[in-house]
């Protein structure tokens, strides 16, 4: 009971702090703007770096995101947390940069997907990995392999994997941001996860398998 009261009190206090910050921003308070940038900018830069894989472009995307946010502040109704609102804005700013980058036709994801015999059986026989995900994450070599495998995904699939699994946006929201159907997002997500699994499998299989 005491815990519930503490959680409730923290939520109320956070909400009133957000309302005060928003009012100060709308009043043009310089310190409020500085607080907005310093408290949220680092996490937003991390998002832009994950999506763009280029520090200079990520910094540009961050600046553009804040510019958009400053302009949109009068219309922000406070229906979500300020940090959530800024997260969406930096994701969109990064997506715009990714779109402007795409000049070449994308490679196919098909070679990274599982294959089947004519009767529907898998060509491969799958087995467990050597350790649990948490144990594997303790090895920096595995973390590097995971990041490199995500980087190798064709951009269309990498973007959906990042938005759904890493940035934790929902299917409808990702569909809206990318201008595609919810079904297309689901298909791309499933293929991206399959391709990630397939690339990691040879490195992480049990040695006796």
């Amino acid at each position: 009971m005491e815990d519930e009261v503490a959680v409730w009190a923290a939520a109320v206090s956070h909400e009133s702090e957000e309302r005060a910050l928003l009012a100060a921003l709308r009043a043009g308070d310089d310190r409020a703007y500085e607080r907005l940038v310093t408290e949220n900018g680092g996490r937003m830069l991390a998002v832009a770096r994950r999506m763009l894989r280029n520090d200079e472009e990520a910094r540009d995307a961050l600046q553009e995101a804040f510019l958009l946010a400053f302009r949109a502040l009068p219309r922000f109704e406070g229906n979500s947390r300020i940090s959530t609102w800024l997260h969406r804005i930096v994701v969109n700013a990064s997506l715009m940069k990714l779109r402007s980058r795409r000049a070449h036709p994308e490679e196919s994801i098909e070679p990274m997907l599982p294959t089947f015999l004519e009767d529907g059986h898998s060509t491969d026989s799958y087995c467990d990995w050597s350790e649990s995900a948490d144990k594997l994450l303790e090895r920096s070599q595995v973390c590097n392999q995971v990041r490199a495998s995500i980087d190798r995904l064709p951009e269309t699939y990498r973007t959906v994997l990042l938005l759904r699994d890493i940035e934790e946006l929902d299917t409808a929201e990702v569909a809206g941001m990318l201008g595609v159907s919810a079904n297309a997002v689901k298909i791309r997500l499933h293929r991206a996860r399959q391709a990630l699994r397939e690339q990691l499998d040879p490195h992480l299989r049990r040695e006796d398998a």
Binding site: Q63, F116, G120, S122, L137, V142, I150, I166, R193
Partner: protein, 97 residues
Amino acid sequence: MKSRIGKVAAYRGEEFITCQEVITFLLEYLSKDLTPEEELHFERHLAICPSCVAYLKTYKQAMHLGRAAMRGETGAASPEPPELGIELVRAILQSRA
């Protein structure tokens, strides 16, 4: 409702959906988007196919690894967000003008 999962193979005199069907509809299975009938087909296949059980398990592990590795959540403590630096903060604040 007509099942989307149609391809079947015989095993010990009974019909089961194939590994291809299981792997193709895995996302719907994990998101609980299958009909009860489709889910039953899934469960029956998984009960006799250790390879698909391993696929399902490693698919979920790959998701977990991807999230944690990309977010830098690989230890007990959450990672600190990167520093912006004074110049970048200044440039951002100047864009208000």
